[in-house]
Subunit: 157 residues, 2 copies
Amino acid sequence: MLKISKKADYALMALQHIAAVQFGDVTPGRVVNTKEIAEEYNIPLELLAKVLQTLAKHALIESHNGPKGGYALARRAHQITIAQILESIEGPLGITDCSHEKDGEFCMQRGNCHIRTPLLKVQDSIAQLLNSMTLQDMMGGTPLITIQSPTAQGVER
Amino acid sequence: MLKISKKADYALMALQHIAAVQFGDVTPGRVVNTKEIAEEYNIPLELLAKVLQTLAKHALIESHNGPKGGYALARRAHQITIAQILESIEGPLGITDCSHEKDGEFCMQRGNCHIRTPLLKVQDSIAQLLNSMTLQDMMGGTPLITIQSPTAQGVER
DNA sequence: TTGATCGGAGATCATTATAGTCTCCGACCC
DNA sequence: GGGTCGGAGACTATAATGATCTCCGATCAA
């Protein structure tokens, strides 16, 4: 459950790869083309192309046309959050249908849905988690997130 | 993104309702039948029936056959976690395909997937969040989870 | 003991989301 | 000006989801 899509997976791999090339020691500043990433990770070329186009549209990467073209990060790695990447591909975070709808009749046309509020709390926690982690954090195997149980921090139960 | 299914939604509503009836002031100890819940929340009767059957199979609720039959919680509300409910319906938590597979060739047949480890960290955080919250917490609008950014707790970024 | 009321369980279907493909276009650089 | 790149749209196949239908067995009360 709560699985992210393959496209989102590909987006993360691609961005990690672009960042690694761009800020690495071997060929810093080099742009990366779609084919290179597709072959490196065995991703269907044309599907990856769509993913990269989407990321470019959301200003996470910049495209460079023509021969020797390819993609480069539009910002530095620590300014790109996991939340931004995932939302570019899959749309805004929402664990329930009624997460981000305008005011109106939802939740089965009843006002007696008692689970909406707690679920939104869960969603907020996840959002904060994803917003706190950046592409930089995914590079080079550095320790990433200290896992801390909300239980130990004053949760009502 | 990261949406939970309608079935899982229904499961949460149903369990909340059963708990409210069972431990409420009006008719404590009463079993609740499928039809009552379906009508209360406008859930398709037969779909809800399947959801409740699944929950019973996972020992979260107990079924009572025959006239005056219905469902009752198998444990107390504070012993049923959101994670248990969701996993009963949607299967184990796994934000990536390679989350809980045996050792073997995954992640595009390559060992150069650099995003697996960080994603598993994210997954662990979500798992802890869902495990720390119980059905009890969803009752009666009590404050539920203190949202705390992992960033403020020593995250590398 | 019989029939109405329950849940149990399986097959089935429609709709949607996902994953992946194909094709054509325009920009760029040598 | 031709080959190499990304941009963009339509398109298809498959899987997941949501929902329905049907039949069965257990139970209880008249």
